[in-house]
């Protein structure tokens, strides 16, 4: 296990709290200024992902979700936001200057914050992050909710597909008419929901049995290192954040 931890590359080797600071700084900087800075920040994020060994998976997800959203958003905005100054038109569609301006602002925001979140998801290990946050006073209940959610979704998905298979074998097809498909929904969800609820009660007993609510200081089997480098990085990131916000305010005053 220890070896695997050491193999975490780039940002992934940081203390998760430091990575979280980085993500926040990237997100804030990307929306403070105009779209050119946003594009630069996003480019930086791709580089950071690549350095950490997540370049391909990050870019793939990024193209599939965010870029697609931005393209659709841009097209719809520039075509359908009411405006006077028509830049280009064909058939019943017309691209208007007002629409394009609005679309650039919106899309750079979506792209900036969105990419930062996506990067965070790739670079920060949820388990490590909750461990660090818990050390700093976050409730163990919050840790439980977050980690358990991550575990429960694949479990329930598996059960769901088993139920769906059973439904199929009883003759309910997912490619039949809308009414039939709608009717398939409730018998699939019902047992899943009830089972999950009943098991919650027993799970509560399990947690009590494992001293979940014992009133003592909790420890962690694997402590996450917080090196001097991490502390320095966090200080640097906070300075960047303050400088960026200050710079933005100065720019705003100067422009006025």
């Amino acid at each position: 296990m220890k070896n695997m931890e050491n193999k975490r590359k780039g940002i992934k080797s940081w203390n998760p709290l430091t990575s979280l600071y980085l993500i926040i700084v990237l997100a804030v900087v990307s929306i403070l200024f105009d779209f050119r800075i946003t594009l630069l920040t996003v480019a930086l994020m791709i580089v950071l992902a690549a350095v950490s060994g997540e370049g391909a998976s990050f870019t793939k997800l990024w193209l599939k979700s965010l870029v697609l959203v931005c393209v659709i958003c841009f097209a719809l905005q520039s075509l359908f936001i009411p405006g006077e100054d028509v830049l280009w038109s064909f058939w019943i569609f017309a691209v208007k200057r007002e629409g394009v301006q609005k679309a650039v602002v919106l899309c750079s925001r979506i792209l900036g914050v969105g990419s930062a979140i996506l990067l965070g998801g790739k670079l920060i290990d949820m388990k490590h992050l909750t461990a660090v946050l818990e050390e700093r006073g976050m409730s163990p209940a919050a840790t439980y909710v977050l980690l358990s959610t991550a575990n429960i979704i694949p479990q329930m998905s598996k059960k769901m597909s088993a139920i769906l298979d059973a439904q199929r074998s009883r003759g309910i097809e997912t490619d039949s008419s809308l009414l039939v498909r709608a009717k398939a929904f409730f018998p699939s969800v019902g047992p899943l929901l009830l089972n999950a609820l009943v098991s919650a009660e027993e799970r509560a007993i399990t947690l009590e049995a494992r001293a979940f609510s014992a009133p003592c200081r909790k420890t962690k089997l694997r402590e996450i290192a917080d090196t001097p480098r991490d502390k320095a990085l966090r200080a640097a990131l906070i300075s960047i954040l303050v400088l960026a916000i200050g710079g933005r305010i100065a720019l705003w005053i100067a422009l006025k």
Binding site: Y144, L207, E208, A209, R210, A214, P215, C216, R217, T219
Partner: protein, 291 residues
């Protein structure tokens, strides 16, 4: 000294119309294994929950009487504090996984983390218990991916590692196959050898006859019979309370009907063999019949 002392306990679930426990008194000495048997709905599980303090803390409802564990009043303690005194394992293996660990190793460590044990000590204790309970083979496996029997063994180990003095184990094998049942009882025997006080609800009378120091029969929320396995299983009232006797005892009873006299009814395989040998070896008519 009594590890568990229950005095005149009466309890009713909040939404029920009848008491589920009625004037129950029971004491279990330190190091004893007390088996609780009885028909479904006789109050066995509720009794377990009362010893652990889940009744009335978790389930609410009206309670009277007293439950002392190691001399401490469970009802006055916070529900989380009792975790340090009483280990608790129940029927369903699938819901006894904490749900937030990725490996069996972490699953065993989870309780100790919650108790605030230092990491080095956690490692030492988890290693030790994994060895004793023979679950090292699953060490790095996802607890969710184990079979029911394996999960139940992990659940037992995950509680045993917390090293409380008293364990309450509610029907640990009712959803398991025979092989897993044996594995689970192997762990229960281990617990007993470690000097733990155990309250065990179980339907498998052969195992009870072999492991229990004391058997308690419950019926409609009351304790109706109490004693050593020999005393309880030879009591003719067992039938009225729908208690299935151990196979050996049943064979002995059948033999008795045939006119073979047993000094006392055997309850384990060992005892039956000895008793039959004693009769056939010493008594001439046994040999004559054979010849």
């Amino acid at each position: 000294m009594d590890s568990i002392k229950i005095t005149d306990l009466t309890y009713r679930y909040p939404t029920a119309d009848e008491d589920v426990l009625r004037h129950v008194s029971l004491s279990v000495k330190k190091g004893q294994l007390c088996a609780v048997v009885g028909a479904n709905g006789s109050g066995k599980t509720t009794l377990c929950n009362a010893i652990r303090g889940f009744v009335p803390k978790f389930y609410k409802g009206e309670i009277s009487g007293e439950v002392l564990v190691n001399g401490k009043d469970v009802q006055r303690e916070e529900i989380g504090v009792t975790a340090l005194e009483v280990g608790f394992v129940f029927q369903n293996p699938f819901t006894q996984i904490s749900g937030i660990t990725d490996t069996v190793y972490e699953e065993l460590a989870y309780g100790l983390e919650n108790m605030g044990v230092e990491p080095a000590e956690i490692e030492r204790r988890v290693e030790e218990i994994m060895g004793l309970t023979k679950i090292e083979a699953f060490r790095d496996r996802d607890p969710y991916q184990l079979s029911g029997g394996q999960q139940q063994r992990v659940a037992l180990a995950a509680v045993l590692v917390m090293n409380q003095d008293v364990f309450v184990i509610d029907e640990p094998t009712s959803q398991l196959d025979p092989q897993s049942t044996d594995d689970v009882f192997e762990i229960i025997r281990l617990m007993k050898n470690m000097g733990k006080t155990i309250v065990l609800v179980e339907h498998k009378m052969e195992q009870i006859a072999e492991y229990a120091d004391k058997v308690v029969v419950m019926d409609q929320g009351q304790i109706v019979l109490e004693g050593t396995p020999e005393e309880v299983f030879s009591d003719p009232r067992c039938e009225a309370y729908h208690i299935r006797l151990p196979q050996c005892t049943r064979i002995a009873l059948e033999l008795k009907k045939e006119g073979i006299g047993f000094e006392k009814l055997p309850v384990t395989v060992q005892e039956t063999v000895e008793a039959i040998q004693a009769i056939t070896g010493a008594g001439k008519d046994g040999q004559e019949r054979k010849g």
